[in-house]
Symmetry: C2
Subunit: 63 residues, 2 copies
């Protein structure tokens, strides 16, 4: 499951640590999700959508 995390984070000039703090997860989790190691849980996906002010469907892509 592909995602646009890295781009969205760059648009806001946030470091991985900055995003991790906003999501209340570890920096390693953010890194793992960005690099496609695994997909976030649904609750975390909702939190990600919230901090970016977008819909889950617009951040995570099927395919």
């Amino acid at each position: 499951m592909n995602n646009r995390l890295k781009v969205l984070r760059a648009e806001r000039n946030w470091s991985q640590q900055e995003l991790a703090s906003r999501l209340e997860v570890s920096r390693q989790s953010v890194n793992a999700i960005e690099t496609g190691k695994y997909d976030p849980s649904l609750p975390l996906a909702f939190r990600i959508a919230d901090v970016f002010g977008m819909a889950i469907e617009d951040i995570f892509l099927r395919e």
Copy 2:
């Protein structure tokens, strides 16, 4: 994380087994998600949204 699975399933007159087959998961998984035992993974949430033709945000509710 609350969800409207039971209602959506009832609207379509699908049994848990019917939905499980469409999602390609076990019936117990559908039952567990419906009864709030746990949340689906993100990929499964996308499949659920697909079979109902809705957005994830309209099936699973924050709060």
